[in-house]
Symmetry: C2
Subunit: 454 residues, 2 copies
């Protein structure tokens, strides 16, 4: 049986092709001797050659094989800052950029700095991408969950944040930071601007560091939503660098590029005093620097080809082709899930995932308990056995007590989606036939986090 | 004034050129579309093209942009294992290889796993590359130093290990592992086979994990010494995977390749039970995987061009040119240091460093104390101010009480060495004239570790 991987946010593993311009530049920077050869023009676009030259000029000694500054090559950080400024309409500085081997190490760095003991808590969404719970556990802190509201499309309500902060504080936890994943993983929602303003206000009032996981900023699939960085929101409210400590995480692994294997990314760090900044730098320097190819690619995604560049049109065809196909896949899967008995599914407004809710029959829950598995894990295992489709049980991300979900990526290539849908439907209908209750009733269980996937 | 960097093991930053074959393969793997084009043969050697094909075939879906298995691409690990087996004459398995973003993250992973509290100690050499002290501090363990014997060429004596282990144990420390850096950083010595056997025996008897930092395995500059991996030594003594937990660290940043910016490397993990192995895997998976270019380069350094390959001769010219030049630079600098009043310097048998001892006049020590600096830091600062030469004070690596050193890399390009030597001599003679005691006397001070460099 063919295994159909819908479990991991790893687009290239499912056949997504790399963006040509980005790979041309990386290829040239890996072998700069090519830049002096006339034959190179037969193989590479002229703007890729030009960009490779520009990048090499930014790297001291043009040495792509040297350790860089521990924050990353200064010229590349400046280019990224210019890209952020162009995106947001507010100033950004290369001095605030820390280039990292993907977003995960950046998150670990911040957790390492924020967590002093188990008395320090970090507010994280439930459901959440389990990088956060893992990192908090690794660094010995307390995971302070807040629930996203499934009924309102995985809404993030400030009342809920306040309730959870107060409750944590009453237990002696010092809540130090709020993690917001926008667009959401595993939940796929895109926050509205007004909502973001309230979140910024909340962090300001409560004295929290805002850790903004914005790695899906270029994965937006609906007309009525746009990505707004939290920094843009904060600046538009008049808050300056002095008002709010804010970290924005970005990665080359997501977006339309999906370059997971390159391990590139950065965090933009604003609103910390010089002492804290120095500590961040110290932690960054422990592993010397992030890989230079990842640094270069980070600069490329924040400064892709522009109108008039030789590659612009073909680049836009590739880019829009990927994004629009992802949007169609998201819609097709969402509609399929919603067409089924016992499944409800919020729209994937962004990111790479759907997180459908399973309204499981009591009999299925009983079968899962008899098998010693969480009900959604039991469902996912049965799905895998019957169809080869791999999804991640909702219990891997945490979910409201008594609810069951699974995360399904929208990443299988578009021509595979109809077969996935029909196999899924066939399985689900049989599953429901096997377990359907005469009168449906859901048994509540505790929210748990077991293990998810990226 | 021109700054002459002799402080960091970062060869490409000082003009060392990348090895052409390695970069050709990386360039092709970054842009696999090139492999189908006939023009590619005009720009790349045929064996690089062939190797790129072979590597892509090892990567599922040929997707160099996908996350790999958290240990690294299996086919690349197998290739590395074959390289280890060819080097050592003993079996190696790809299942035991963990590919990492350079050796530093691998060291951190092991420290994270070994250290449970400040009651767990790790035996480390003094002088030591301060990655170890930093990592132990970060993970909350106890640094248990053992002194290398400068008189015997930075000899590593098992009696000293035993003494330090016993002393640590008497303080309630559980000593869990022994770090050996071979060839030595910052000390440049290459361990003799008999010495290594005693170290293996010691670890076996004391129940210690042997953490073998072998990143300089291809940097050997003397005829009478060879690199022997600790795994080869242990296997040659008849110890199997069941007898001794052993981790060997390797990196693409050192050797003749010196590809620091690629952040590639691996650890070979043998002699742990399945439970521990699973924990290592879990920690490795927290950051998903190491970067694929670094993984590919790790496979290339362990399987470079062979006799008969198109690139073999030019590869060997590049390789031997770098190694023999490094050997000449090491010798020239060592002789220069030893020719000076108040400096003694052991041979750099390997690695990338000299670690000369400064027999400082009492008056210089007094001047340093008046300036609030460690005496060798004071010397290094004066050297920098007078000549632009940057070295790292010995206090950054730890040293025997009452001794002063500095670490000087052998990495400036060969044509720069005479100027460095003459500037250095001129400075040193003036420094001695300024501070020379009528009768020389050294004041003892405590061994300290401040901060070193890679």
């Amino acid at each position: 049986m063919q295994i159909l991987y819908c479990n991991i946010g790893n687009p290239h593993s499912l056949g997504q092709q790399p963006v040509t311009f980005f790979r041309e530049v990386l290829s040239l920077c890996d072998h700069p001797a090519l830049l002096d050869k006339s034959e190179t023009h037969a193989l590479y676009s002229s703007d890729a050659i030009e960009r490779a030259w520009q990048i090499l000029e930014k790297i001291p000694g043009r040495a792509t094989g040297a350790y860089s500054h521990s924050q990353g090559v200064k010229g590349l950080r400046d280019e990224i800052a210019a890209g952020i400024a162009a995106r947001d309409g507010f100033h950004a500085s290369g001095d605030n950029i820390f280039l990292t081997d993907g977003a995960s190490p950046a998150v670990h760095m911040m957790m390492q700095l924020l967590i002093r003991s188990e008395k320090d808590g970090i507010l994280c969404p439930l459901p959440q991408y389990p990088l956060y719970s893992a990192s908090i556990a690794l660094h010995g802190g307390s995971f302070v969950p807040y629930f996203l509201d499934e009924e309102t499309g995985w809404g993030l309500e400030v009342d809920e944040l306040k309730k959870q902060v107060d409750e944590a504080r009453s237990k002696g936890i010092t809540v130090r930071a709020l993690v917001v994943i926008n667009p959401g993983n595993p939940t796929g929602q895109v926050l509205a601007e007004e909502n973001q303003k309230k979140i910024v206000e909340f962090c300001k009032n409560e004295g929290l560091v805002l850790l903004a996981d914005e790695v899906y900023q270029e994965n937006i699939y609906v007309e009525d939503k746009q990505f707004h960085s939290f920094k843009k929101i904060a600046r538009s409210m008049g808050y300056t660098d002095d008002d709010l400590p804010l970290v924005s995480f970005q990665s080359v692994s997501k977006g339309y590029y999906g370059e997971c294997g390159k391990r590139g990314g950065y965090m933009e760090v604003t609103g910390f005093n010089a002492d804290v900044r120095e500590q961040i730098y110290k932690v960054a320097s422990v592993n010397l620097c992030s890989n230079i190819s990842g640094q270069i690619l980070s600069s490329l995604i924040m400064n892709p080809p522009k109108v008039g560049d030789e590659s612009y049109e073909s680049f836009m065809v590739e880019r829009d082709g990927i994004i629009s196909s992802l949007a169609r896949r998201a819609k097709a899967l969402e509609e399929a899930f919603n067409s089924l008995e016992g499944i409800t599914c919020n729209k994937a407004e962004g990111a790479m995932y759907l997180f459908p809710r399973l309204h499981l029959p009591q009999k299925a829950i009983g079968a899962a308990q008899a098998a010693g598995a969480a009900p959604d894990a039991y469902y996912a295992l049965r799905l895998l056995q019957a169809t080869g489709i791999v999804v991640v049980p909702g219990s891997g991300f945490g979910q409201a007590p008594g609810t069951y979900h699974f995360r399904c990526t929208i990443l299988p290539q578009e021509d595979k989606i109809p077969a996935i849908i029909s196999r899924f439907k066939e399985f689900h209908e049989k599953f429901m036939d096997e377990f359907r209750d005469v009168s449906r009733d859901e048994a509540p269980t505790g929210a748990t986090i077991e293990s998810g996937g990226d």
